[in-house]
Symmetry: C2
Subunit: 125 residues, 2 copies
DNA sequence: AATTTTCGTCTACAGTGGTAGACTATAATT
DNA sequence: AATTATAGTCTACCACTGTAGACGAAAATT
C-alpha cells in the first residue's frame, strides 16, 4: 500500500463529487452549479468546494476557454469502498456482521433488498 | 420523529465513548485516561473530549468526591445504527445492496462472515 | 462602444474537532 | 506543616468545512 491516500471529503463537497461522477465527460463549473442548485449554495460556495477538491487530489481541473472543467481522480467506487472500510474499522471494530446487523435493525432493508443480497451471497461463495 | 438528534461524535471522541460503553458502571476520568493511554493523548485532551461529549448530550457526568464519573446517554447501538444510516443515505444514496456490495469488494468479509450473514438473512425473512 | 452577464480568484468568517498549556483546589505523602 | 500528586476548569490554537462577499477580466447583449 502507498504512503496513504486518506482523502477526506466533506458532506457538501461530496454532493459536488456525485454530480461529477455522474457525468460521462469532464463537466464545467456552470453545469455543476446547475446540478446542485437544489442545495441553495451560492456560486462561489460551489467554486470553493471545487477548488478544495482539486487541492485534495479528488478532482483534476483544466481551463477550457473561459471555464473550468473537472474530472474525477478518485472514483465513486474507490470512495465508497474507503468509506465502508472506515466505518467498519472505526465504528464496528472490524465486524462486518455487526455492520450488516445494524443495517437490519435500521429497517434499512426492504424484502427486495434482502432477496438481492442473498443473491449476491449465493454468487459470491 | 423528534426535532432531531443529529449528534456528531469525532473520531477521537469516539475512542473515548468506546471505553465508556465497555464499562458496566459509571467510569471515572482517571480510568478513562488509563484506558485510552495507547493513543498518547494528554490528560487535558481527554478531559476536553469528555466535556464536549457531555455538552453534546452523548454522556452524562456526575462528580463523586474529587472525580468526575461518566455514563453514556447515547448507546453504542444507537450510535452504530445512526452511522450506518448516515453512510447509507449520504454515500450510497439509500442503496443497501450497494453498501453490502462494497463490503464485498473491500474483501472485508471472510468466508465465515459470509456464512454468518447468510444465517442472519435466513432468519430474517 | 457601453453595459450587463458570466466566471475565476482571493479573502474571510464561524463552527467543529484535535490537542494541550496554565491555573487552581484538594487530597495524599513525607 | 510543607511538599507533591491528582484532578477539574478555562482558554487557546490550528486545521478543516460550510458559506459567501468583493474584485476583476472576459464574453455576450443592447
Amino acid at each position: 500500500m502507498s504512503t496513504e491516500n486518506i482523502i477526506t471529503i466533506g458532506e457538501a463537497e461530496l454532493e459536488v463529487m456525485k454530480v461529477i461522477w455522474k457525468s460521462k465527460d469532464a463537466i464545467s463549473s456552470a453545469q455543476i452549479c446547475k446540478a446542485v442548485s437544489d442545495h441553495g449554495w451560492k456560486r462561489t460556495t460551489v467554486t470553493t468546494f471545487l477548488a478544495r477538491l482539486v487541492e485534495k487530489g479528488a478532482l483534476s481541473a483544466e481551463k477550457i476557454g473561459k471555464s473550468m472543467y473537472y474530472t474525477p481522480i478518485i472514483t465513486a467506487k474507490q470512495y465508497k469502498k474507503a468509506q465502508v472500510k472506515s466505518l467498519l474499522k472505526n465504528v464496528f471494530d472490524g465486524s462486518a456482521q455487526d455492520l450488516v446487523a445494524s443495517l437490519f435493525e435500521e429497517k434499512a432493508l426492504s424484502d427486495n433488498d434482502i432477496a438481492e443480497l442473498k443473491a449476491i451471497f449465493e454468487k459470491k461463495e
